[in-house]
Amino acid sequence: MDKKYIIGGVVALIAIIAIAAFAMSGTSTVRAENELAMAVSNHGGEPEAGFDPLTGWATGTEPLIQSTIFKHDGNGSLVNDLATGYTISGDGKTIDVELREGVKFTDDTPLTAEDVAFTYNTAKETGVTNLDALDKAEAVDDTHVKFVLSDVDSSFVHRLASVGIVPSDSYNNETYGENPVGSGPYKLAQWDKGQQAIFEINENYYGKKPYYEKITNLFMEPDAAFAAAQKGDVDIVEVPLSYANETVEGMHQVIYPSLDVRYIGLPVNTETTNEDGIIIGNNVTADPAIREAINVGINRSAMVDGAYNGLGNVSYVGTSKLLPWSSDYTIEDGNVEEAKRILAAGGWTDTNGDGIVEKDGQTASFDIDYSSSDSTRQAVALQFSEQVKEFGIEATPNGKTWDEMDTTKFNQPIVWGGGSADPHQLYNFYDSEVAANEYSNPAAYNNTAVDALISAAMANPNLESSYATWSQVEPAAAPDVPYVWIGTLDYLMFVSDSVDMSDDTHTIYPHGGDIWGNVYDWTSTNATAS
C-alpha cells in the first residue's frame, strides 16, 4: 500500500474520463444505403443455442430466417404467411391448414406440409412454446397439414404463428443453430458469437422483399449500444426506458406501445412446502386484505411516469387494450386512505408504532424480488416498495438472478414481465391446472369460476367468437388480486434519420418486442427522395 495505489487510482480516473470522452466523440462508419447496422435485443439478444426455432429462436416473433404459418398484424389479428387458409373441425379438435405452393428453403428444397408437421411435432418435444394441447401434426398432402388436438383449444391457431418452420430432411439439432436453413426474407450470412449476426437477403423469398439487403445486429449491453449510436456506428438501437430523455444527433426516437406488462405476483395461499422442498404461498399476501389494499393503494400512473420514464400505459388487468379480447375492467387506484381502511377492516393494525401493520403476530412484511439485470424492473420494485410503505406494508426490494428466483418464485412476490398476442396466456396466468408450474400461475391462483370461463373459451371452435368469453376471464379473476398489474411498457429505439421504419405497419409488440415484424416495409429516406 503506497504510491502505486495513488497512481493506480489516478490512472483509473483518467481512464474513465478518457473512455467517456472517446465514447462521446463521433467517427461514423460508412455503410451502403441498403445496409443496416442495429443493436436490438428482440427478446434476450443473442440466441444461446443459435438461430433454431426449435430451441427458442424468435418464438412468437419474426424469425427473419424462417417463415411461420401465420403472423400477427398490428391489431393482434392473424394474417397468412405460409398458410393460405385454415378450417377448424366442428368438434374443435382438428385444425386443417392449407399451405402456399412453391415455397423453397434457402437450400433449394421445397417446403411442404411434411416440414410443417415435423417442426411442430419436434417443437412439442423441445417445449419452446406451450403445445400441450397438440396430439400430433400430420401432413395430408404436400400443401395440407392437419393438427390433431388432444384437448379442445381454439386459441391453438395463435400458436401456429410462433414457431419458424425448419426443413425436416436436413434438420440436425446440433448443427442447425449455427447453419440455419429457412424460407424467410433473410438468411444468416455470418455469426460471430458474442459479437454480431449478419443477415443477408434471401433472393428466393416468396413474399415482399425487404429494401435492406443486409442487416447486421450487434450484441451489446444497453450503454455500449447507446455509445455506438452516438458514434454513428448503428442505425437502430433499442435502449431501456431510462434513456428516454436522451437525444442523439442524426437520430430520432421511435416509441411503440406493447403488450408487455410488468406485474407483481402475490401468492394467494399460505406457505406450504412441496415435495421438491419449494415453498408455495406466502403467509402475508395470502390474506385478501393485503392484496386488495395493495391493489387500490398503489399509484400506477406515478409508476408509469417514474419507473417507466413516462413510456407506457397503466394496466388493471394483464391483457393489453390493443388486443381483441381485452376487457374494460378498471379500479380507482392511488387511494392510500382506502388501502388503510381495507387493512384495518381485515384486522391489520400497527400495534408497535413502527409504521408497519401487524395481525396475529404476523408483520405485513415480504420481499419483492427483481431481476438485477433489468433497470426498469428495479425501478418498479423500488417505487412499489416506497408506495406500499405509505399504508403500512413493508416490501423489501431484493435484486436477484433468475436462477436464484427459481427457488423463491412461488413464495416471494416477484416483478414479472409478460404479454403475448395469444389469449392462451390467460390460461397461464390464472388456470389452476398450471398453478405454480414453471413460470405459469406463480400466485397459485385457483378459482373454479375462472377455470370454467377459460375452458369455455378454449372449447369454442370459433376463434373470433371465443374472444368474447376470453374477455370475461380477467374481470372474474381481478377482484381476488393474484397479481398487481402495473402497466404495459413502450419500446424505445433510437433510429437514424435516414431509416424509415414504417411506423404505421409495425406489428403488435409482445414481451420482448418484435422489431423485425415489419422489416418488409422499412426503407431508406434517401431512397424515397431519389
Binding site: Y5, L13, P222, D223, F226, S242, S372
Partner: protein
Amino acid sequence: MSSLSKLNPLNSMNLRQKTILLIGLIVLLLVLVYASSLSIDPANILTDFTLRNQPPSFEHLFGTDWLGRDMLTRTIKGLGLSIFIGAVASILSSILAIIMAFISSVNKYGDVLIAWLIDFFASIPHLLLLIMISICLGKGAMGVIIGVACTHWTSLARVLRVEIKEIQTSEYVQLSEKFGKNKFWIAKEHILILVITQVIVGTLLIFPHAIMHEASITFLGFGLSPHEPAIGIILSESMSYLTTGAWWLAVFPGVMLLIIVLLFDILGEEVEKLLDPTKAQK
C-alpha cells in the same frame, strides 16, 4: 517570514506531537464519515423521478442518479458500508493471522502446515478467492466480510511468523522454558507483547486492501443487490450512464473512495511511526 512561522503552532510541535495530531485528524474524519453514514436510513434514500440525472448543484452536491436519488447520501452510505466491512474484515484477518502465526510456533509440523497454507492462499489471486468464498457463503455483506477476512491474513501472518521465530530464539525465552514455564505463558507474556505493534499496524494496513476489494467485488455484482448503496455498485451503475454524459455518478464516489483508502493508508503509516521508534527517525 520568521515571525509568521513562529505564529504557526505546528512549528512549535515536535514530530511526535505532529504525528498524534495527524492521526487524530484522520480518525476524526473517518469517524465523521462513518457516523454520518449510520445516521442515514437506507429506507429514506427515496426515488424522486422529477429529479432524475441532475448534475451537481447546491441542493444535491454530488448530483442525482437515474432514479432521482441523492448521490451524496448514497455515496456516504456506501462509504460507511465500506468502512464497516473493512473494519470487521481486517480485524478478523488479523485474528486469523495471529492464530496462524502461533500455530506455526508450536512445532515443526505446525510451521510447515502454516507456511504451506500461507503460500497456498497467497498463490491464488485475491479477487478470485474472494468471489468464490462470498458465493459459497451466500450473497450479502456477510459473504463479503468473510471473503475478505479469509484472503487478507497471509501477509500479516508471514511477518508475525518470522517475528515470533526470532523472539523464540532469544535468551530470555529459553530461560523461561528452562524455568518450566509452559508454552502458553511464554506466548502470552513474552511474545504477544512484542508483536502487538506489528499486529496493530498490520491491521490498519489491511484496511485499505479490504475496502478496495469490497468495492471491486460489489462492482462485479457479487454480494449485494443493485439498488443498495455500496461504492462498487454505485460505480458499476454509473458506467451505464457515462455515455449519456452523467460524469458525476462516477467521479465523486470514485474520488471519495480514493480519499478514504488513502486516509487509512496514511493512518497506518503514522501509527507505525508512533509505535516503532526506528521508523520515526527515517
